[in-house]
Amino acid sequence: MAWRIVVGLKKHVKDARGEKIRREINGHLNLSLTSVRTLDVYTVDAALSLDEVTQAAAGPFSDPVIQEYAVNQPLANSFDILIEVGYRPGVTDNTGRTAKEAIQYMTGRQFTAGEAVYTSTQYLLSGLTDKSVAEKIAKDFLANGLIQYWTILSDDELDPMVGVPVTVPKVVSDAAPAVRTLSLQISDDELLDISRMGMLALNLEEMHKIKEHISDPQIVAERQKVGLGAELTDVELEALAQTWSEHCKHKIFSARIEYEDETGQVQQIDSLFKTYIVGATSKVRENLGADDYCLSVFKDNAGVIEFDKDWSIVFKVETHNSPSALDPYGGALTGIVGVNRDGMGTGMGARLIFNTDVFCFASPFLEKELPPRLLHPRRIFEGVVEGVEHGGNKSGIPTINGSLVFDDRFAGKPLVYCGTAALMPRLLDGKPCHEKKVLVGDHIVMTGGRIGKDGIHGATFSSEELHEGSPVTAVQIGDPITQRKMFDFLIIARDRGLYNSITDNGAGGLSSSVGEMAEDTGGFELNLDRAPLKYPGLQPWEILISEAQERMTLAVPEDKLDAFIALAKEMDVEATDLGIFTDSGYFHCLYEGKTVSYLGMDFVHEGVPQLVIPAKWQPKELSEPDFAQPADLGQELRQLLSRLNICSKESVVRRYDHEVQAGTVIKPLLGVTNDGPSDAAVFRPLLDSFAGVVVSHGICPSYSDIDTYHMMACAIDEGLRNYVAVGGDIEHVAGLDNFCWCDPVESSKTPDGRYKAAQLVRANQALYDYCVAYGVPLISGKDSMKNDYQIGDNKISIPPTVLFSVIGKIADARKAVSMDVKRPGDLVYLLGKTADELGGSEYYAQHKELGRQVPHVDAQVALQRYRTLNKAQQQGIIASCHDLSDGGLGVALAESAFAGGFGMEIDLTRVDKDSDIREDKLLFSESQSRLLVTIHPQHKEDFERLFVNQSCRCIGQVIAASDLVIRGYQAQNLVQQPLQQLKQAWQAPLREM
């Protein structure tokens, strides 16, 4: 019988958590409760005495100043309805794990196998008597049925002696480990059934390829030598499905595309990735010549560039969309701790210095009915924000840059981009730290967490649209502390030279990590039965492909193995020797000594057939809207400032520790009251140096509805524009692309596949054209190609979205520039010309229009501007600099003014513009490459001399009064707004989120 400890706040203590939940229930479900109180429950399933349990309850589990506890009795009283929420069997329970460790320290005894602590929470609701409403609260707000169970009791149903009936969510499995074999000598329909039912996401051509391979008599003969035959084992099939998944193999980006443009010309593209992404980087590096600062691109878990003579920067951005759709908290948490492993798993390992995050959601205030299986965007918002908060904050990594982008099509799938930068020494023991190589005979050592059924089929699941049968096991919850402990250990092991290579266990688990590392040697022998498991009952194939978190795989040479394992043990990190890397040529797994997979390494890695995708570009018939200039542009400006894509994200930013490690010198929030919106972040990774890493991004999916070519160009320009605005060095900068697309492969489910594929081609073409023109190498990236929701006829596809992340440096962070105006009398300049380019703009969206004239980017002109701006920044003559993006000039002026606390007087006649552009369009056009700069009048001549022959106009000045005054073409006051009102409009929408 399990012990049950309930811990709650004493009567007089305010329950801030409960109160927050009460407010949120009101916000989410529009239900007004009189109070919500919370109790923590520990179900201790272990052989302990009452004394020991009481000691635990009174000691580590409760706080004597504010809490009380009960053992095997209820603590709940005076409520109407009690809801207890706990985890389902097998779901990661971090608090339960910590509770178990605490008891072990206390008693000095280890728990035996199968003993555990499980946590749950009781919510005591008052002001509600209807249990069906409580059911709704549990289902739609407190719990996620995929990973949690709940129990609902009214006050008269709670037994005062016993309390809530005990639930012990222990994984019970009587399945003996077994390996099944499958004959593939079956019909096509049956082959496809195997793929579908096994959640393998393999298409018919791929199934044929496997069938063909396994039918080769020579191969069968080789297999017979190790005890296998002409049938494929489930371990082999699963390994192939993971390795060949869209998620791991990027089949769409590697496909041959037959692209027909609007003139009917057909072009054959052999791999978008090689042609445009690798192609652009090769070209840029060639142009850089001896100044090339790229160290490792596209070949590792993250890209690496030079930082200074002793250090290099590692950067990677991932997406975690599909898991976040099912469980926003767990999905986002694993997203961030997952990308952290990419940084750690690059080269010989790196110290993580900051995170970035960009989320794309539907409006949290969405009122329409959602189709089945979709969570409300507000819930996704809350869960994702909290997941990344826990992942970043607990790991001690500051989150310094990000965005929230809103479009109601993201209700179909939210996009969760998580990025991580890390710092590594240029040389480790005399060898480049960004390189690594496994040697034959090295041991395969897995460190960190244990393997469970969590995350099985994550890779194949995210290679499909979200559908009715999307697997629950794809959902996982990250454990930042287990990972933090492992990283502390690994950095020491790295510096002691205890391993030859390292990589992370992400998608595809051991199958991917060991499989990829073994490409260095050409084979491996992996003993699946040696892997430490969270609970018994896993099948060998599950052990191989589980994506259970917080694990790294290392290649440890024989003579270092003991030292490696001993250090791990001392630092309380699990490390297990699972086998060796060989040159056998085989992907060789064993279970209890018996071979369970024996596939040629070549076949596993190179066998996947190339997809062929048709693409046809046909520009949409679009037109510019026809509405008169509104009479009150001040009101238009306020409304724009209140749009979700423009408004303040302060409530989210503050939930992220953006200053841990003491390096963040241009923070996400700045200005006279520390709440203005920064364009980019500057981070000093070395406490004793002023060299800074600069990070920013561009993302503009709304332009995709007109032309993805320009969407991509604008995203690149926006990223670079933000980067140079704070002082980032345009000559030492790298880009990173994250494509999130809707399925672009034509099929019955996707009849408009040709158009979507053409959109993809065009975005890639722009990526090549602009990276080459700007001289920006791409160093890494990722694509997520199935961001659709489909159940029945209901299909929601996201707008094609590319996050273009930018990373580089500023030699002296003390020269960095912030966006807030500094003092009255300063002159206001606008760099760059404004054209009638409002297609896809926020202003048109405010008028429920799309338009046609999407912004175009002139890279040559922009590059010259950015270089000149860098010079002015180096001379220290820029007081403030802010990029113009969503909402154009009007929004940039307002933001700079209220962030700085001073008004401005602006004369629109002085703006460099298309001659016939209307005042409202001039004010809100989203023409690219423009920057708003203020300077002290004493620098006027120097500044103007630098920008001679460039578009650079003084358009007004900063004033002491706290009004934004914008004069129109007839010198009339087009806008006259108190800053307080503008700021209020900008801060209001998400303040309470």
């Binding site: 203590v13 801030a16 958590r17 109160e19 927050k20 000691g59 580590p60 589990f61 409760s62 706080d63 004597p64 100043v65 504010i66 971090n94 608090t95 794990r97 910590t98 509770a99 460790e101 605490a102 320290y105 206390m106 000095g108 908060e389 904050n393 607990k394 001690g396 454990d479 930042p480 502390i481 933090r484 402990k485 502390d488 001392e570 630092m571 309380d572 503050r654 939930r655 520790d657 953006h658 200053e659 841990v660 490690q661 003491a662 010198v665 241009i666 923070k667 929030l669 200005g671 006279v672 520390n674 406490l687 002023f690 962070a813 003390r814 520039v817 912030s818 807030d820 500094k822 700085g900």
Partner: protein, 272 residues
Amino acid sequence: MKNTVKAIVIAGYGTNCEREVAYACQLAGADVDIVHIAELLTGRVNLNDYHFLNLAGGFLDGDDLGSAKAGANRLLHAPVAGSADSLAEQLRQFIAAGKLVMGVCNGFQLLVKMGLLPAIDGNQQQTCTLTHNESGRFEDRWCQLTVDPDSPCVFTQGLSHLYFPVRHGEGKFVTAGDTVLQRLEELNLAVLKYADNQGQPTQTYPANPNGSVAAIAGICDQTGRLFGLMPHPEAYIHRTHHPRWTREELPEEGMGLLLYKNAVRFIQQELL
């Protein structure tokens, strides 16, 4: 070297701010080691070889059982190899020797939950705690702090006000009863209070970011040698750390460094 101030920063199990705390100690003139708890538990490093113990910010064990609770439990119970004493016992010896301890954020939570602060009249039962912010959420925000000029705290001597970021979800300071609060005030142990723009202690959000009673942001013991605070002094050791350094004239050296310098000076004068 006899005249060297030796500082230790404990790391591991979710401590996050060890590097910047160590750097602050170093800038203040101390010889500093970052030591993983494993090094202490194996007995290879002994606390008593140092003068200045830093318990840095972070999330010990994820704060899973409440902030610093599991961390406190480890110090109380984990055995030190080759010694009969627990780490907590080493820590008590360290304190009894009159050495300095500063706990920041999670380190403050740890000291309070182990009963080491405020330990009025030597009572090491826990009498105060740090719990969930009134707002129910984690916040990163810079706060004005006012210093009690009559406090015995050795770290804040000569200082009247400070400006540091808070970065916590569980920073609301609460006492077991009014008597404890009264004693804290009488003995001038409530060293730091969240202040409004006029420098007055405040209960108003966000100047008081978490709803702490009597606006208390940091406390010391009666010797003034044990000090814990929620705001992060190590986050402001250079002017570029200040959120408004691009718009204000500020001294090169950040205010946080002053606390570390006071500690080092005190050790040089009293303990060497």
